[in-house]
Amino acid sequence: MATTELETSRADSVWRQRLSRWDVKASPYLYIAPFFIVFALFGLFPIIYTAVISLMDWDTIRNSGEYIGFGNFEYVLNDRKFWVSLRNTFSIFILSSIPQIVIATFVAAMLDHHLKARTFWRMGVLVPYVMMPVAVALIFSQLYADSYGLVNHWLGMIGIDPIQWHKDVIPSHVAIASMVNFRWIGYNTLILLAAMQAIPRELYEAAALDGAGKSRRFFSVTLPQIRPTAIFVIITSTIGGLQIFDEPRMFDSAGNGGADQQWLTITMYMYNTGWGELNFGRASAIAWLLFLIILVFGLLNFWLTRKFISSDKGGE
């Protein structure tokens, strides 16, 4: 009797032990499961679905298609518009992201000083970000009108010929990039400012005692210390920049990127193929190409950022 009881309780405790071991091992997975289930439904499934459709001549309305192999990819890669849109996307991306991050870092460094009415200035840089995109688009479209726009009016007053914002390639990119920068500089400034505030003040004091000037402290203390945040900002603005859609789409009323595809971006090309021509197979192929481009470019940026803003200078 006693033995059986003992055995039962031993079996019990073995079971409980196993259960608790299993609990320790499996629970974390259970807790993160909701995210991955949702991701599988709304992230992974569409990605795979897009991949399947991209290999088909897909009729989204009749929900049927015919397998055509890599025909869509072949068409897109041979389409002049794809390459033009790729050029435009990178051009607008470079014209927006680089000034954006440089200016944001500079403004953040300024805001990091002991200013009067600090909160006012900090909130001030965020104003463009909370502005209604509609209002921003309205203002900029009036500014950049080719013949009767304000910018050309001002340029005329100092004797510069009107710039054909909606006709020439680079001016249209500059105009669009200025809209993007207007909107995103403040946002990035605040993120970088938060990173700068977290830098221990002793580092600056030590640097100052060692005789480092203002700019030296900025380059040798601030920049290396905000490296992880800078990587985050650069990667997110890379992804955002390569997916740029709203601003070029709103740059004229037709939203087709100009008569000569002057400012057609990849996402607009994809949207026009899908929703304009109702050719979702081809649009899916473009989506996948864009995905690959962003992946490659994101990794490249990550590598470059690590290389150039190295932490060894800051690692005293």
Binding site: A137, S253, D260
Partner: protein
């Protein structure tokens, strides 16, 4: 999320342009006063058919301001057609869903057309009707002896598919006249009263461009018309065959000499006669008031665009004339998706709503010009004058313009891609990016890659 944002912005940016398109899209049919009795009878007949006891809920989806109900933008309309129908048919409950603009409605339409989920009655705009026609088998056949001949020919033809099924009841339409600036005509030494201008422009496109040359000479080099694209839609819609073969649906645009001839003629004229401002650009809006161009092809909904953007100008007039006959720009139909739950009740409702007397009310509400023949005898429509256009009798003028419109050429699967390619070609020349020949070559390359 970014797409919604984009749409909202687009809406705001395009502002009046979209508003104008919306008006066009939403215009509803007007009925004759003489038809009112019939309309009432129809409603009663519908009631009986529904058994008036069984409750039915219907949904109606439109865009812009078709003038159906006060729920459109909190409008203060004289008539509320939705309420009226529900009073006539107590068993019917109608839910009205209005999208801000045609593009939203189009996206929604094609997302749900296959899987289901569309409203019982869906409004479709002339701009995407050719695409809808590709899927006409998914829409209910609305043919009914009772509605035969209700609309002007081109409206009925535009909604009739290859098998002869009528899939849409016309609401509004956009017959065009010519808007012109009397002061500028006078300054250029041309006759300037509406009747004189109508006589002057009466003729084909050669005549139109010849007058344009006179205007350019007389005005010292000012532009005669607004943009090549605006004229292009007028010229192309008068062709019997344009981009695609009506029988086989194949692309024939590059072998169609009429298209290239139009292109050459228009490009030759536009060099001096066009203001080179693309329609709906900021510069084009500014040109409405600053006299950058003297004429524009003018559907009824364009009157509101001009008035809204050139409030201080008093010299815009409307001439009862159109080069080479007639032309339509804009308009909508009501369709009934075949997989809906209440196809019969929905058809009856669409029938009632597009009857001449209802559309005359919609015209009074929102200025959407009717496509119903009977409406053109209705004093409520023919009596309409536009104070801004120097009291132009717009009701009479557009009734005549509508009757002059010939059915537009067959528009198939590739119509918009081809049209975009050619419009881009025109714009490139107007922008000075390319010369006409090089720009045409680019369009040819674009068209060849379609498919």
């Amino acid at each position: 999320m970014s797409f919604t944002r984009r749409k909202k912005m687009l809406g705001a940016v395009a502002g009046t342009a979209i508003f104008a398109l919306t008006l066009a899209a939403c215009s509803s049919d007007d009925g004759d006063t003489t038809d009112e009795a019939t309309g009432g009878a129809t409603a009663e007949a519908t009631d009986e058919a529904e058994g008036s006891g069984d409750p039915v809920s219907l949904t109606l989806a439109t865009f812009n301001t078709p003038g159906f109900s006060n729920s459109e933008n909190d409008a203060d309309y004289q008539y509320d057609l939705i309420e009226e129908y529900m009073e006539l048919n107590p068993n019917v409950t109608i839910t009205y869903d209005r999208k801000a603009e045609s593009g939203d409605a189009r996206e929604n339409f094609f997302t749900k057309l296959g899987p289901g989920g569309l409203a019982d009655v869906e409004m479709v705009e002339v701009d995407w009707m050719p695409e809808v026609m590709q899927y006409s088998d998914l829409l209910a056949d609305l043919s009914d002896p009772e509605v035969e001949g209700r609309w002007v020919d081109y409206v009925e033809a535009g909604a009739t598919d290859a098998d002869g099924r009528l899939i849409g009841y016309g609401t509004d339409t956009g017959p065009q006249g010519v808007c012109y600036r009397a002061d500028l005509f006078e300054a250029a030494g041309l006759p300037s009263s509406p009747d004189e201008v109508a006589t002057l422009l009466d003729g084909d496109w050669d005549n139109f461009f010849a007058v344009g040359d006179d205007y350019v000479d007389g005005s010292g080099g000012s532009a005669f018309f607004d943009s090549a694209s605006g004229i292009w839609q007028g010229m192309t819609n008068q062709l019997d065959v344009a981009y695609e073969d009506p029988e086989s649906g194949e692309l024939i645009v590059l072998d169609n000499e009429a298209v290239k001839a139009n292109y050459d003629q228009l490009m030759a004229a536009s060099e001096t006669q066009s203001s080179h401002f693309g329609q709906w650009t900021e510069d084009w809006f500014a040109g409405l008031s600053n006299g950058a161009y003297a004429t524009m092809l003018c559907p009824p909904w364009m009157l509101g665009v001009i008035e809204g953007n050139a409030t201080d100008t008093t010299d815009w007039n409307l001439a009862n004339v159109y080069p080479n006959g007639g032309g339509n720009w804009g308009g909508s139909w009501l369709t009934v998706p075949a997989n809906g739950e209440n196809v019969e009740a929905a058809t009856a409702f669409a029938n009632w709503l597009t009857a001449p007397e209802q559309q005359a009310k919609a015209f009074a509400n929102a200025g959407t010009y009717p496509s119903q023949v009977a409406a053109y005898d209705d004093p409520a429509v023919t009596g309409a004058v536009n104070a801004y256009f120097n009291d132009a009798p717009i009701g009479e003028i557009f009734a005549e313009r509508a009757q002059a419109v010939v059915p537009s050429p067959y528009k198939g699967e590739y119509y918009f891609q081809v049209n975009d390619a050619i419009n881009n070609a025109l714009t490139r020349v107007e922008d000075g990016t390319d010369d006409p020949a090089a720009s045409w070559d680019k369009a040819v390359a674009d068209i060849e890659s379609i498919g």
